[in-house]
Symmetry: C2
Subunit: 357 residues, 2 copies
């Protein structure tokens, strides 16, 4: 049934009436615009308090012909990994929902292996003077420079995927990598004996960059699990400096020749698919394999049984929620959680059909 609203007498009109001013003046103090005497300002603010006035967002957006520009800066989707398609999809979903509220989203992409491309795109964003920025801070120094510039220009920014903790970001939305690795340790421990040898695989082109640090953080957590729980499993480790299939397989072959008694593999990023491919080709069964990210290749190996566990951090939601945080802050003017850790999801063959990335 449709009902009429009870006519609550509130709104700018009522405030104006009580304060004996025009609604234009009320609007001015509502938006902290200048040109109002302290006296009337105080009077109006008092009434706003008394009435517990909440502006009507609908009317506000409708009347205001302003459009807000949010710009995003994330890696482009490469053949190397289509991981970033997921956050982008979340961003696109948010874009669709916010379009009618006058939000536009500008999309800027950089090459994960090219700092300059990051810097270049960042500069473009600064020139456009976005109202808000969402970025994946891949390169520590360059990202910091960029967000410093944002701060100077009063542009709020949110980090997704990885954090730079000491920056005045609006918020961080992404995983707690240490605990994500820790969980990996616990999962594997359930499946193997107390003596089984474990291989940790880090695949990263450059070392000592922000991305490689991410992997190390997971490894730390992983190892911490065993240490904290008094587990003595021998752990061997391999750093693979190239991300292509062939290099990974080559490296895996070498390490398995040295350690044929490996019983479990923990891959600290989405390249677990390439590792699984190696196992399949060499028919290395009865290994427990854990890795990251719900991407097509990985899911297919999960279904075939060459991967046991995929740990995921809801990348689609990261993108969606990142944009929504800007919206909450800039339009709704509501509080935003400074650090929003994503859940650490576990995907197995049997629940992958229901997983929402």
């Amino acid at each position: 049934m449709s009902r009429k609203n009870k006519n609550e007498v509130t709104g700018v009109k009522e405030i104006a009436r009580r304060a004996k001013v025009s609604i234009g003046t009320v609007d001015r103090v509502l938006h902290n615009r200048e040109g109002v005497s302290e006296k009337t300002k105080a009077r109006i603010n008092k009434i706003i308090q008394e009435l517990n006035y909440k502006p009507n967002i609908l009317a506000r957006r409708l009347a205001s012909r302003k459009t807000l520009q949010f710009d995003i800066l994330i890696p482009h989707i490469s053949d190397e990994s289509d991981y970033w398609q997921a956050p982008l999809n979340g961003i696109i979903q948010a874009e669709a929902e916010l379009k009618q509220f006058g939000i536009n989203i500008g999309k800027f992409f950089f090459d994960q292996n090219d700092k300059d491309s990051f810097v270049k795109q960042a500069e473009l964003i600064l020139k456009r003077k976005a109202d808000g920025v969402l970025l994946a801070p891949f390169f520590l120094d360059e990202s910091t420079q960029f967000t410093n510039a944002c701060s100077r220009m009063q542009i709020p920014f949110v980090f997704i995927n990885s954090d730079i903790p000491d920056q005045p970001s609006l918020c961080y939305i992404g995983p707690d990598l240490f605990h994500s690795g820790y969980l990996g340790g616990q999962l594997i421990q359930y499946c193997i004996s107390g003596k089984a040898k474990i291989l940790v695989v880090n695949v990263s082109k450059e070392i000592k960059n922000q991305q490689h640090n991410r992997l190390l953080r997971k490894e730390e957590g992983f190892r911490a699990y065993f240490k904290d729980n008094g587990k003595k499993n021998p752990i061997v480790k391999i750093d693979i400096r190239k991300t292509d299939q062939w290099s990974i397989e080559k490296n895996m072959k070498d390490i398995f020749q040295q350690h044929p008694d490996i019983r479990s593999v923990f891959v600290t990023n989405s390249r677990v698919g390439s590792v699984a491919s190696f196992l399949e080709k060499n028919n290395l069964k009865n290994l427990r394999v854990t890795g990251y990210d719900f991407i097509e290749e990985n899911v297919s190996f999960l279904k075939k049984g060459w991967i046991d566990f995929l740990i995921c951090h809801k990348p689609i939601e990261q993108g969606y929620r990142g944009i929504m945080s800007l919206y909450q802050h800039l339009v709704l003017k509501t509080e935003v959680e400074k650090t929003y850790y994503m859940p650490v999801d576990i995907v197995l063959k049997e629940n992958c059909a229901f997983y929402r990335n």
Copy 2:
């Protein structure tokens, strides 16, 4: 930076101009109201098509002083289980977001163990003539009668938590119970030997009702996992007809006396906490325990190590999404997925801090 909208010439005004009618008439055909000649109706519809006109939801809600009434019918939160607090929280969250769009939510609760209370509350809802209904169809016949009445009154309804498949619901939002149980099988299988004995525990006051069927469905899935994968673990089963702590412990004691070699326990609902409590009191260690639902008691046993895995179906999101589906259908007039299976989440000690129920 704030920008002006590019002045896209669309909207009722433009349609009216092109069709050489008034905007009132355009509005009439937009809402399929009568009183428009077929001829002009066709003309206007054609122009709407051409312009690919999308109404401005903001303006629509602002201008329309109608309020929509959504009513929910779920179990009240009892001492027996605070599970239903979670869906309710999701509903309340949706309510807060939709309030400014003129949506009101009426909350009706029934007693899980009392069909009459369900019927009574359902009647109240029908009398109020809600615009949309969300319900947990606990009692099959009574639920069907209620939703039949809804259908007759053209009130769309959504099911959460459990489904009645052949009903013309707007949608179902909840788990696929069979696969949820199946996943339980897979989890346990990772942790135990091929010969270890497994105990399945069903706790349910009444048997042969919709709720008990839910448990059976999970058990089916659970057993199917072992069958499909050629696992020969002996499985024993116990049906406990009382839900209080004492009865559960008593029953567990009996079964463990008969089968001291049980190595793993699968509890098909949230009463896993009581089972864990029994294990703790009797210091029965080295068992792998799996159960359902992220409720306080269970999480505390998870942290203490008496429960290994909790399987969860995001009850908060079920409530939230249920209301949002009604909103999408009734206000946004967008398509709604007829069956939205929730993810089958796995919560361990190590990721429970990050879980979003």
